[in-house]
């Protein structure tokens, strides 16, 4: 897509929300679900997802790079006996690193051209249509979630692992409670399974534990698998709602979680 990446990022996220709403609304349209229209919407979802995931992946990659730098920095710092709490320092430094990555205004650092791009990914400016949170700049890792029940788009702070995320899947081992490694665990997990994770159909099957149909499903491209939505039964819908409330702490997975909800809503 030949446009500024900033515009891409915003568009992708809002397009995902809009598309999910359309699919949701089509359930109640007179005359039954229109196969053609929903197929076309699924193509937009796929395109938006591809852009979104590409950005997330690039951000994850950048975060990893910063972590490596910070690890080295911390190691150097630890050599200084005057440093009070190495672990807290780690955390703070990481936050600073994260902030400098994501909010170039704060430290004056992070002048890389991509930072504004990431800022748009992870920290929407207030007034952005799809992310109406009040400019809280303290955390880099926010994710946007569409709540299909209340139709509210909210952001969720991303510092905690929740049980219903991809880390409950076999590939993601539970991670120790350390901020650095937690993130690494998150991103590492996500980055390594990006192939599988990017296939929302497979992740849907992971999250919906009762449906372990095809663990070897590796088709990564086709969100027109959305048609599988139509095949989804309504049973278990209500029970899944409660589980799904807890989903969406991870950036990449949060978006998939929203889709999962939409899918289950079918």
């Amino acid at each position: 897509m030949d446009r500024g990446t900033m515009e891409c990022a915003v568009d992708a996220q809002s397009l995902i929300s809009i598309s999910l709403m359309k699919i949701h609304n089509s359930r109640t349209q007179r005359g039954g679900i229109k196969l053609h229209k929903n197929l076309l919407v699924s193509y937009v979802l796929r395109n938006a997802r591809q852009v979104y995931i590409k950005e997330k992946y690039a951000e994850i990659y950048r975060m990893q790079q910063y972590e490596e730098v910070m690890t080295v920095c911390n190691e150097i710092q630890e050599l200084n006996p005057l440093d009070p709490e190495p672990e807290d320092a780690e955390e703070e430094d990481l936050e600073v690193a994260a902030l400098s990555c994501c909010a170039p205004l704060q430290d004056g650092g992070g002048k890389e051209p991509e930072t504004s791009f990431y800022r748009s990914c992870c920290m929407e400016t207030p007034g952005s249509p799809c992310d109406p949170f009040a400019g809280n700049g303290s955390h880099c890792n926010k994710t946007t979630v569409l709540d299909l029940d209340t139709h509210v788009v909210t952001t969720v702070e991303n510092r905690y692992l929740h049980q219903d995320c991809c880390c409950s899947a076999p590939q993601c081992a539970p991670v120790p409670d350390s901020p650095v490694r937690k993130r690494k665990g998150d991103f590492g997990c996500c980055a390594s399974d990006l192939e599988e994770v990017s296939d929302f159909s497979a992740s849907r099957k992971r999250v919906r534990r009762e449906e372990c149909t095809d663990p070897n499903y590796t088709d990564t491209s086709n969100i027109s698998n959305l048609i599988s939505i139509f095949g989804s039964g309504f049973s278990g819908l209500l029970s899944r709602q409660a589980d799904l409330e807890q989903i969406c702490s991870k950036q990449a997975l949060a978006s998939l979680g929203a889709w999962t909800r939409a899918i289950v809503a079918f």
Partner: protein, 447 residues
């Protein structure tokens, strides 16, 4: 009567049918428009399941130049809303397509379809009635047999013309998905009906069975990537038909090749221009209509932004491409949000295949003169509806300074869309449907 497009053709307002209210009742939204094979009859279908047929009156004493006065000939309820109890689905009564059968006798026949059921209607005139029954009174009551003293032969006496529409065949239960097309074969015996995934072949006389000739439903619905969007029989080769897809391809099939025409004989596809790639590329390449030219050598397809003419002998690209409203390309995101990007515009040929026409927004419609490489944008509006008023060409300002009489893209009314148009097969008379009004225009006769 078809004037060669020697000079600039000018179009005049002739008539407008429908309510004047701005408040449009949903049932009155016109969903299909079709001339019959002589152009004498013009049928419209609406969202309420009704069919209205207009008939051309040749002479109008007040306006002798007005050769296209159409008046209501027959109105009937073709389809009713239904409920599929098994799937808990309501079936809309909206008429998706009307197709006329060629006339064989005094009566007229047409096929009308909603999402699930096709019906064959017979429209017949009755201008005589029997009078002088022996056993019945005038009002139908039976006479007392003892009062009958003589026998007479009933005679037919003239009466006020009555036009009756009666359903002669109902072709039901053959489509799981929504029917988008019907097309009568040139053999006048069979017709096809197409839904999102399948095409069926029917005999007009037989309602309890049909042959499935195309099936693109994948074994696993999760692998679905395209649907059928339109289908039509070739105008004179009874073995040939085409169907278009949501991916922008057209397949031409020969029924002689095999019983199931999943494997096409020809595949018409134009490679996408990579510089135009966007989130909405798939949507705007989906074909909304396909129409053969009258001579059977070309076919025309309509996608969201353009009209393409294909030579049936050349599969790899169209021979002509006409931009309908290219200025919308930068607005696709908004058009996606308000659902306009899903509008299905139709297109049509004139009688000698020299001009094609299609609709747009703001009640604009476009004509492309293939011979003279000219195009024009006209508007169907109540403001330009004085009898024989010449339509002024309209222009959309795409950027920069807006000239006088131009309209800027942001001022376009996207609720006023012209999806359905039809061209008289033998004359320069066109029918253009706005949301709930039908406009009839004719060309200005020179001299």
């Amino acid at each position: 009567m078809l004037a060669g497009s020697g000079g600039d053709m000018q179009w005049c307002f002739s008539q407008v049918k429908g309510a004047i209210d701005d408040d449009v009742a949903e049932a009155d939204i016109i969903s299909t428009v079709e001339f019959n094979h002589t152009g004498e009859l013009l049928a419209t279908g609406d969202k309420g399941g009704r069919v209205v047929i207009f008939q051309q009156e040749i002479e109008n004493k007040n306006y002798p130049q007005l050769r296209s006065e159409y008046n209501v000939y027959s109105t009937f309820q073709s389809h009713e809303p239904e409920f599929d109890y098994l799937k808990s689905l309501e079936i809309e009564e909206k008429i998706n397509k009307i197709r006329w059968l060629p006339q064989k006798n005094a009566a007229q026949f047409l096929l009308s379809t909603n999402d699930k059921t096709i019906k064959l209607w017979k429209i017949s005139e009755r201008d005589r009635r029997a009078d002088g029954y022996n056993l019945k009174e005038e009002d139908g009551r039976y006479k007392d047999p003892n009062s009958i003293t003589s026998l007479r032969v009933p005679v037919l006496i003239p009466m006020d013309l009555m036009v009756e529409a009666s359903p002669r065949r109902v072709f039901a239960n053959a489509h799981t998905y929504h029917i988008n097309s019907v097309s009568v074969n040139s053999d006048h015996e069979t017709y096809l009906s197409a839904d999102d995934l399948r095409i069926n072949l029917w005999n007009l006389e037989i309602t309890d069975r049909s042959f499935n000739i195309v099936d693109i439903k994948p074994a696993n619905m999760e692998e679905l990537t395209e649907v059928i969007t339109a289908s039509e029989f070739h105008p004179n080769q009874c073995n040939t038909f085409v169907f278009s897809s949501s991916k922008g391809t057209i397949r031409l099939c020969d029924m002689r090749a095999s019983a199931l025409c999943d494997k096409h004989s020809k595949l018409f596809e134009e490679p996408e221009n990579p510089s135009n790639r966007s989130f909405f590329s798939e949507i705007i390449s989906s074909i909304s209509d396909v129409k053969f030219s009258h001579n059977g050598q070309y076919m025309m397809t309509r996608d969201y932004l353009s009209v393409k003419i294909w030579d049936l002998k050349m599969e790899n690209r169209p021979v002509e491409t006409y931009q309908v409203h290219e200025y919308l390309r930068s607005k696709l995101c908004s058009l996606y949000e308000n659902d306009c990007i899903f509008d299905k515009f139709e297109c049509c040929w004139n009688g000698n295949d020299s001009v094609v026409m299609t609709g747009s927004y703001n009640n604009f419609f476009r004509m492309f003169d293939r011979e003279h490489r000219r195009d024009v944008t006209l508007e169907a509006s109540r403001e330009n509806s004085k009898p024989l008023q010449v339509l002024k060409p309209r222009k959309v300002c795409t950027g920069g300074k807006r000239k006088k009489d131009e309209i800027s893209v942001d001022s376009l009314d996207f609720n006023k869309k012209i999806l359905h148009t039809a061209w008289h097969p033998l004359d320069n008379i066109i029918a253009v449907a706005t949301t709930n009004n039908l406009y009839i225009f004719q060309d200005k006769l020179t001299g």
